[in-house]
């Protein structure tokens, strides 16, 4: 406790009152997507993998002979698109969240360590970053999957471990800047160890730019998952993910626009909301932008 006891935030209510309408809307969208994804097994109208070949490529609103309504239409194998999107949301959200988490942890830790320790550690880490960035990420992912084999957790590992260099670059540059400031020296003089200085004083002060990358990468990860799934290296069919639905739908875009349009729209809403939320959170985390 000790020092933390004194960092007690002011009452929460004061913050809530100042929240802008856009943040409320964006928050509701995120909550809705998350809620629908979690509730998919109960609210989905059909089994997302059940094929009805008679009902291939039916437009949204089609009513089947057995009374089933295909609210968002069907895909190329006659599967209910709404159900696939609902279940696909689970996969896409999980892959994006977990892979961003992995790459943030690895990338930020390495960047801060490189900038803090300098010397050969810095050279080793930052040259590795250069090497990683010079190899096309897809190639690296394909190679890794080829060695490890496909699978949900392997996919997260692959995405997480190929995307960390971006975080490292930013964390490294920001840490270099902050590490020479007098308040860091003052903490050193106060007797704080490296771990405490990095976590308590450096990390909060470099969190803003990092958060921007996190939100940008979040959307990218969903698309990456789609790309890898399309290549047969990610989520294995028939399991749905937004990415795999879209990559299949791409082939039929002239005859059945809905297969791409609906998951695409969901993806847009999700990424947009995450970005707006990220910007807001960055400002919120900075005491200088809080109410005076």
């Amino acid at each position: 406790m000790s020092a933390r006891a004194m960092t007690a935030r002011r009452p929460v209510r004061r913050h809530v009152r100042r929240v802008a309408v856009s943040i409320v809307i964006v928050g509701l969208i995120l909550a809705l997507i998350l809620g629908l994804a979690l509730l998919a097994p109960w609210i989905a109208p059909a089994d997302p993998t059940r094929q009805v070949l008679m009902m291939r490529l039916k437009p949204p609103g089609t009513l089947a002979a057995n009374g089933q309504l295909y609210l968002l239409g069907t895909d190329d194998l006659g599967r209910d698109l709404l159900s696939r999107i609902l279940f696909g949301a689970q996969v896409s959200l999980a892959v994006a969240t977990l892979s961003v988490l992995v790459s943030t942890l690895v990338g930020v830790a390495l960047g801060m360590i490189a900038a803090w320790l300098r010397g050969w550690v810095e050279v080793a880490i930052m040259r590795l970053v250069d090497i990683m960035l010079s190899i096309p990420a897809v190639l690296l992912a394909v190679l890794t999957v080829a060695v490890l084999g496909p699978g949900f957790f392997k996919l997260i590992l692959v995405l997480g471990l190929t995307r960390w260099p971006r975080y490292t670059r930013v964390a490294y540059g920001q840490t270099l800047q902050v590490a020479n400031l007098p308040y860091i020296k003052a903490s050193e003089l106060a007797g704080a160890g490296s771990a405490r200085i990095l976590l308590r004083h450096v990390l909060p002060n470099i969190a803003g730019p990092l958060l921007i990358i996190v939100t940008a990468e979040f959307g990218l990860m969903i698309l990456f998952e789609a790309g890898l799934s399309f290549l047969g290296l990610g989520i294995q069919p028939p399991a749905p993910s937004w990415g795999s639905i879209m990559s299949v739908g791409r082939q039929y875009v002239e005859r059945a626009w809905w297969i791409v349009a609906f998951p695409g729209g969901c993806l847009f809403l999700l990424v947009f909301s995450v970005n707006v939320m990220g910007d807001w959170l960055r400002d919120r985390l900075d005491p200088r932008f809080r109410a005076r």
Partner: protein, 325 residues
Amino acid sequence: MTDLDAVLEVRDVAVHFAARGGLFGGTPAPVKAVDGIDLTIGAGETLGLVGESGCGKSTLSNAIVGLVPPTSGSIRVRGHEVAGASRAALHALRRNVQMIFQDPVLSLDPRSTVGAAIAEPLAVRGVARGRVLKDKVDALLAQVGLEAEHAGRYPHQFSGGQRQRIVIARALALEPALVVCDEPVSALDVSVRAQILNLLVDLQRRMGVSYLFVSHDLAVVRHIADRVAVMYLGRIVEQAPRDVFFAATKHPYARALMSAVPEADPVAQRAKRRTILSGELPSPSNAPPGCAFHTRCPLATDVCSRERPRLTPRPDGALVACHHA
């Protein structure tokens, strides 16, 4: 050699920074930021360290608090060696040496509350925790003229002068024997300078702390220092008790500094003979031989470029490093 009363003893300290070699070999000369300095500060004493920017004042301060390792020489705080001390030894030593930085905006972490900043040295060392810690922080805030309720606020909610008060409270939290003040008032408005200086003097009287007061402002040094040392290119050229120094400055460089201080009385100001130095401060990686100042000195003769003058005592108690003054 060891003076038991001395809080700080600096003996022949040098700090050289190795310059990075070029692509085609050849090691450039090291930058001699500090090149052989002796200083002593007694208990409850204030030594004013004066010199132009680039003369090594800040490097010397950083070496004294252990942020920069000295290349050679000995730095003793209360008899304990700082130079070459292990991490654990440095950690222990820093209870006795703290620092106040020039820029109060950059001296406080914008993301942690004032209370947390002041509590950090106490919390990290396990001096106090919980309720006791909070009381200590409140007491420290009161000591520098702030309220207990300020502990929950963030640095950006304070003015420059108030922030410097917070920095002072943090520096004094561990009740150090020596506080190195690196230009503590030069970033402040003139109107709050006097307040901060008086606060420092007041705290010194109450706690018996010693100050190494680094400044380029002679008026400020005259106000606060018991003794004055003038640095030029990594060396001390003159050291004297304050009154002796301001009554009769001897070294030609110190005189030039003195003559640059404007006089409040316009008649006296016009009558004043100003010594204007020509030329730039030579590079500390390529200091002139002999007396480092001879390239700009109005009194320089042949001997100055050959022999480095030693600091020698004068009858009135001053120490001066000059062949002619």
